[in-house]
Point group: C2
Chain length 103, copies 2
Amino acid sequence: MNKVNSCPLNFTMNLIGTKWKPLILFHLLEGSLRSGKLQKKIPEISNKMFTQTVRDLEKDGLISRKVFPVVPPKVKYSLTNKGKSLEDILRSLDKWGSENYLD
Amino acid sequence: MNKVNSCPLNFTMNLIGTKWKPLILFHLLEGSLRSGKLQKKIPEISNKMFTQTVRDLEKDGLISRKVFPVVPPKVKYSLTNKGKSLEDILRSLDKWGSENYLD
DNA sequence: ACAATAACTTACCATAATGTAATATAGTTA
DNA sequence: TAACTATATTACATTATGGTAAGTTATTGT
């Protein structure tokens, strides 16, 4: 996508304005989670989109990924400080949704 | 798109989580604007996407569209109360963008 | 009569986002 | 030795989003 940012808002939307990103960040607000548990918080997401989305978020420095060298694999995701700085926004978006769900 | 909402946040993102919607809403925060003026605030948007997006926003009750029966046409867009209720969120998103632009 | 105007609308095409299903990995347990 | 595990990857298909360029409208100014 040709990501032009005519204003800061646009920059933000290009970073988190997708179907799954805010949802994943939101579920990590309560603390770090193993990959499987995080994914189960979002039943509708496919395996592929989950991996793809957390990779994107990691690339953009919003979450961190810690791999434990065990078998079967163990991976934990958590918010970075940058990710945490979105907390108010994520909660506001969620709140707005709950207030406007019925319309 | 199959819009499933496992949490309110998802509902919100399905409503405004696109490339242009937040931008248009944002520029209407300062008051109503004629179609052409609004579009010029967002130089990168194509004619088609502009119309398509304002129609979507109108359908979802976030903006209102007033047509003046004159020639050449005159159309004004403004935020509805529902749209105005996004003000804090829009400004927060914009603020976050300006604070994280450089990274 | 004819171009200029503002706000669309349409047809057509390209790219990005998302989905499904199958497969890989390699120790642990049966 | 074969199934089980949690995590991830790959190939392939579909749907959503975005873009370009041309056409439409009806009155006003020339």
